[in-house]
Subunit: 209 residues, 3 copies
């Protein structure tokens, strides 16, 4: 049993906050959106992954609509990022870090929620990864970027690893704050190493066409 509802809720809300900050900063940097656009993009980024997860496991209405804390945190994150964004000289570094943090936290909470809803081990790993990459993918589609999950080799892979570690910890009955933070940290570090050293998965063996 996962049976750590408070732990998962806290991680989920922190993930919501960092993704909202991330989405709103992307709105400022890529599309120079106004306050409504920035907050909207922050909210889509923050709650998109969880909504996709909840639709796929049949948990409707999604937690976002039945629990006000998500919408409040997402809105607050978007507003904060909009107001503080102009103080930052460069936005790409905080965007990368926040995105990696949200990816890591949602991989853990998505996998945990999938097991709670009775999905099998493999399905839970996939669903955790989808939760992790979902919000950022919606964000990128809306501002017309090719989503990171497609062009960045070490984006889906750390999400799958973080999700798999979470599923393993729950099955081995050692899931708790330490295991959750460890799984998220490993995902985060792999992602950041990939960004720092520009590591990608292998490209096509020879350029096609």
């Amino acid at each position: 049993m996962a049976a750590q509802p408070t732990l998962v809720l806290v991680l989920d809300l922190v993930g919501t906050l960092v993704f909202a900050l991330d989405g709103a900063l992307v709105a400022l940097r890529v599309a120079r959106l106004d306050i409504v656009g920035a907050v909207t993009l922050g909210m889509v980024t923050a709650i998109g992954g969880g909504v996709i997860r909840d639709l796929l496991i049949g948990a409707v209405p999604p937690a976002t609509f039945s629990d006000w804390r998500y919408l409040t945190v997402a809105t607050a994150g978007g507003l904060i990022a909009f107001l503080l964004g102009h103080h930052l000289e460069r936005l790409s570094a905080p965007i990368t870090v926040l995105d990696a943090a949200g990816l890591s936290l949602f991989a853990v909470t998505g996998a945990s929620k999938a097991l709670d809803f009775g999905l099998g081990v493999g399905q839970a790993v996939i669903l955790g990864a989808i939760t992790a990459v979902g919000g950022g993918t919606l964000r990128d589609v809306l501002v017309r970027r090719v989503p990171a999950v497609l062009h960045s080799g070490l984006y889906a892979i750390p999400a799958i690893i973080g999700s798999a570690l979470t599923v393993a910890a729950i099955r081995l009955d050692v899931f708790g704050p330490v295991a959750a933070v460890a799984a998220a940290t490993i995902c985060f570090l792999i992602r950041m190493v990939g960004v720092r050293y520009g590591i990608n998965a292998p490209g096509p063996p020879r350029r096609a066409q």
Copy 2:
């Protein structure tokens, strides 16, 4: 109780019609699509918001699939717009008006349906706004435009206001044709004033990067 099923159905079908006209005209103007493409984009615009709403509240199959009037009206609207579109000198004015009308009508019907399904007051306001902006957002993504909900400050805000007025009217037990049309009209006027005078929400305090 909302308890105005006929009223809501009529508003929903009118909203479906104007969004189908709007989507097909966008297809002609932006992408110069053929008849199948124009009708398809009209249908996606017309039924997209309602499908998203129904998926989120668990009303599956969505009304579109259980009630043929929606698909018939959406198809007819797309065909009409395709056939009449070439008589219009300029398409941007009718597109703007039709889009604002659909936004207003779906904000009312989306909020009403959410309350019928037992969602709370705040959740119903959000869901009404999502219903209102959903079809147009799918339309814009498919023809590769940044969605209006992101770059146009007075797009999400009138939808939220129309949705909130509807929820208030239902809770105060004064919901009926007058209240519904009033809520939709207020949403419509705010949107059109925003378009006419180029009003946007505040932009970033200083350009970031």
Copy 3:
């Protein structure tokens, strides 16, 4: 009754395979993605249509998550296409053929599954067509192309025909391997004739604007 679960499963898995090959080849040709991106795009193309179908009829979690064969076949298809793609001089011909094959197979299986879930005749035809075009539409949005369903007149139409033939065969109680392959073949041939001779649906009568 459809009552041909094995037949439908086989067609569904073949459709999953060809769409996975197709999506991964598109990843190489259009976006030159690395192995993770190519496999991811192959999987989205392969399972996207079925996931949309299952969400719309309320079959959650979608078959993809409850039946591992889908994910295994989709992953294998993406890997094969990635590894073999560079041996192909030109990728556009195989992409077109694979995409038409997936379109045809999913039109048949989507319509059949919709009837199994109790939807009416007309709704089943629409849902079959949505299943057929869904994965390719998600693929095109992710790599920022205008989806084929919008700009290619003979894309939605063969899907609707294949889906309608399937519904007719099931209602007339003559559905079986022969009828299923015939329906898929007719859809496939119409699509390929349209591609070969550049046939499109009628364009706008006079260029608007």
